[in-house]
């Protein structure tokens, strides 16, 4: 094995593991030997509960994996719509001057509003059903995706567009072969941020109005004063978020292979 790659492995696996273990130990020490024990369960208790919930329902009907899947489905629905819409709006804003002139001011106005601010409005507009949640999640992701895609579309190298035309490409071909690929890294940056904001939005939405999903698990834990359940919810969120982020990075590596210089 090459020396440098062993060193790299140590960096990516060993060091984060050290951090986690340290946190667990500190947590355990605090709970066992200080009065924080009144407020926090031990790591072991949380783990036990976590495993228990894998097979047994939380609340009436659903087990933890089911709650997770429900939240995940909501996120993915909202996120996919946000991505498609965001990419279309971002690129049209970046490539067509009139659209930019019309849409951009509106967008600049909407942009600073945090995703959760839409919750009351969404409930008034769409009731407390799935539509409202999808809307809130959509708003959470949409803005980031538009901002980044727009930046990418504006940075398309005009000389490369010239090259494409010179080689005989039509406007549409130039779009799919030059504009879109050169936006991909930007779009991905937007989608990565977008996915985490969507994930935050779903929790907020579920905490406000829902009978299932991880957000509800946490709120329900609060209602019955069950610390361990709250922690199970939080950890489930964290793990899921981590997996989603990893998945996005994986996709990026595949789609943006051409950017890897290889060191």
């Amino acid at each position: 094995m090459k020396k440098s790659s062993i060193k790299q492995k140590a960096g990516t696996i060993l060091l984060p593991a050290v951090g986690f273990v340290a946190i667990l130990v500190i947590w355990w020490l605090l709970v066992s030997f200080t009065r924080i024990g009144l407020l926090l369960p031990t790591p072991l208790e949380v783990l036990k509960r976590f495993i228990y919930f894998l097979g047994n329902p939380i609340g009436k009907a659903f087990t933890l994996p089911m709650h997770l899947l429900i939240s995940l489905r909501r996120v993915l629905t909202g996120f996919c719509i946000a991505s498609v819409a965001g990419i279309i709006v971002g690129i049209s804003m970046g490539r067509f001057k009139p659209i930019e002139a019309i849409v951009r001011p509106i967008f600049e106005l909407v942009r600073p509003i945090p995703g959760v601010a839409w919750i009351p409005l969404a409930i008034v507009w769409f009731g407390i059903g799935e539509t409202a949640k999808t809307f809130i999640i959509f708003m959470g992701g949409f803005v980031n995706i538009v901002v980044n895609t727009y930046a990418g579309a504006r940075h398309v190298d005009e000389r490369l567009m010239g090259v494409a035309y010179m080689l005989g490409a039509s406007k549409i071909q130039a779009f799919f072969r030059v504009v879109l690929p050169s936006c991909v890294p930007y779009i991905f940056a937007g989608m990565q941020v977008g996915l985490s904001t969507c994930w935050m939005a779903v929790l907020a939405a579920e905490m406000v109005s829902s009978f299932e999903g991880v957000g509800w698990v946490i709120i329900a834990g609060q209602d019955i004063n069950d610390m361990a359940q709250i922690f199970v919810g939080i950890i489930a969120i964290a793990v899921m978020g981590l997996l989603l982020a990893a998945f996005m990075r994986f996709m990026e590596r595949i789609l943006c292979r051409w950017r890897e210089r290889g060191a």
Binding site: L160, Y165, M166, G168, A169, Q173, P181, R259, G262
Partner: protein, 252 residues
């Protein structure tokens, strides 16, 4: 002469309007390039050679005057006029093969046929074995050769080459010069070639157009009718080299 004119530059001027003021780069430029002719544009650094090529290919439009190519006024890029760039302008998201076959592919030529053609040009520029590499994985000289292959593979009637061999080593450069000469004499194409190397200019050109320093226009023209392939150290060659070097404006 009864030769057919393919590129006519008529009183062309180009000004770049920048925040730090107007920048007149081309001032009343006039020249004609005839069919199947190999013309070299030669001039001191930064005199506007790239700008002239951009005007011919339609990437930039003249501020004044007009450029007529094959009877039509240039209003934008067209596949009839190909360009090899000074700085590499590759599609970074396509591998070597896809870059080279870009032209035939957007024109709907069948995969088998365009692969064959692209492979021919890839072999020609000595990149066999690197078809699947992305541009970031190539050395500077290799990237430049991909650009050459891409332009040739599109088979334009007119090909503009902007210092295409700047990043090549002496041998590869020599081979590419021979290759350009062979292709342009065999396949009969009109070539407008920019270089800052006098020897390369005389080796390749039917005619050399010497440009003035900024703002540029034609200073002098030389018809080179030495027999091909030319000998770098023949007395006529050296005499012409001497003459052109003497006539050229200083860069700074």
């Amino acid at each position: 002469m009864s030769r057919k004119a393919v590129i006519e530059c008529k009183h062309v001027s180009k000004t770049f309007y920048t925040l730090s003021g107007d920048h007149l780069v081309v001032d009343d430029l006039n020249f004609t390039v005839y069919e199947n002719e190999f013309v070299v544009l030669f001039g001191p650094g930064q005199c506007g050679k790239t700008t002239v090529l951009n005007l011919i290919t339609g990437l930039e439009l003249p501020t004044k005057g007009e450029i007529i190519v094959a009877g039509e006024k240039v209003t934008g890029p067209s596949p009839k006029r190909g360009m090899v760039y000074q700085t590499t302008n590759l599609f970074m998201w396509y591998n070597v093969m896809k870059n080279v076959e870009f032209g035939p592919s957007v024109r709907g030529i069948s995969k088998k046929e365009r692969r064959k053609k692209a492979q021919h040009y890839i072999d020609l520029v000595g990149l066999t074995g690197f078809e699947k590499h992305y541009p970031v994985q190539l050395s500077g000289g290799m990237q430049q050769r991909v650009g050459i292959a891409r332009a040739y593979c599109n088979e334009p009637d007119i090909i503009c080459m902007d210092e295409p061999f700047g990043h090549l080593d002496a041998q590869t450069r020599y081979l590419m010069e021979k290759e350009v000469e062979r292709i342009s004499s065999q396949e009969k194409r009109t070539v407008v070639f920019v270089t800052n190397n006098v020897e390369e200019a005389i080796y390749l050109a039917d005619r050399i157009i010497l440009l003035r320093n900024l703002p540029t226009s034609v200073k002098k023209e030389y018809t080179v009718d030495l027999p091909r392939p030319r000998n770098y150290v023949s007395p006529e060659f050296l005499a012409l080299r001497e003459e052109i070097t003497r006539d050229m404006d200083p860069t700074l």
